[in-house]
């Protein structure tokens, strides 16, 4: 007998740092995950774009990674897939939310 637990939620906020139409921009992501993320699990963040979006995606580069304002993080790897960015190994240490479920 097996059991598959279901996923949790996170609160995400995206902000285009340059808001002028048609300009190349950086997008700031702020995530408040509901659950812990453990470095040993080789965690990733997947950013999927809507299919009908008019925003264009080019090669991606991740910058300014931090947990609650502390920028002690490692690995700034970002890969672009067909309709998503894949951010790999983004944590230097385990992420433990303040109020883990």
């Amino acid at each position: 007998m097996t059991f598959t637990p279901h996923r949790g939620t996170l609160k995400a906020k995206t902000t285009a740092l340059l808001k002028v139409v048609q300009e190349n921009t950086r997008v700031a992501f702020e995530l408040v995950p509901e659950h812990a993320i453990f470095v040993d699990d080789k965690p990733e963040i997947i950013i999927e774009f809507p299919q009908q979006t008019q925003i264009q995606t080019l090669q991606c580069q991740i910058q300014n990674v931090s947990v609650s304002g502390s920028s002690s993080l490692i690995a700034e790897q970002c890969f672009r897939n067909q309709q998503s960015f894949q951010v790999k190994t983004f944590l230097a240490e385990n992420f433990v939310p303040a109020a883990a479920g």
């Binding site: 996170l10 995400a12 139409v21 997947i46 950013i47 931090s66 944590l91």
Partner: protein
């Protein structure tokens, strides 16, 4: 509150100021080729600033050159500019005249070049919306097809009465 934040380069904003819905953010673990999700959310992105129309040029025309641009005369007006961004087929065009002008005498608005084959719009034909209070002229479906950026666009206004006295006008808004 404990949060993870980062920025990603490599985006190009949409061609119009609007919300982009449906960004899905997922934290996950990758085993082999399969992702196992931890947490997930959907969010949106806002682009709010318009681009600036490049190199606008305004000319006032009259069959009698000596009357072109003269106060209180009915003249035609020609606007030339470069599109700063691409436009989708069916784009909307809106002109707001300076407060020194009235839309009352305008007979038609004609678009050409970037907007596609020359086309005349009138209120009588029902394809030009005129708002006297706002001094605005609005076309729905102004672009015949997709137009790339930096294309020259031209608009003619037929029969526009010049201001009552010799004073620099406020700005015309496109």
């Amino acid at each position: 509150m404990t949060e993870v934040s980062f920025t990603v380069t490599g985006f190009k904003n949409p061609i119009q100021a609007s919300y982009v819905q449906g960004f899905k953010i997922t934290t996950a673990i990758l085993f082999g080729t399969d992702f196992y999700v931890i947490d997930e959310d959907e969010t949106q992105l806002t682009v709010s600033l318009y681009a600036t129309i490049a190199s606008p040029k305004l000319s006032v025309l009259n069959e009698d050159d000596s009357r072109a641009g003269m106060i209180q005369e009915l003249n035609d007006m020609k606007l030339d500019f470069f599109l700063p961004v691409p436009l989708n087929s069916g784009c909307k065009l809106k002109l707001i005249l300076p407060q020194q002008y009235s839309v009352d005498d305008i007979k038609s608005l004609t678009t050409l070049k970037a907007f596609g084959p020359i086309k005349e719009y009138t209120e009588a034909l029902g394809n030009l919306r005129v708002n006297p209070n706002e001094r605005s002229l609005t076309l729905d479906g102004a672009c015949a097809s997709y137009v790339s950026e930096s294309t020259v666009a031209t608009i003619y206004l037929k029969s526009l009465r010049q201001p009552n006295y010799e004073k620099k006008t406020d700005s015309l808004v496109i």
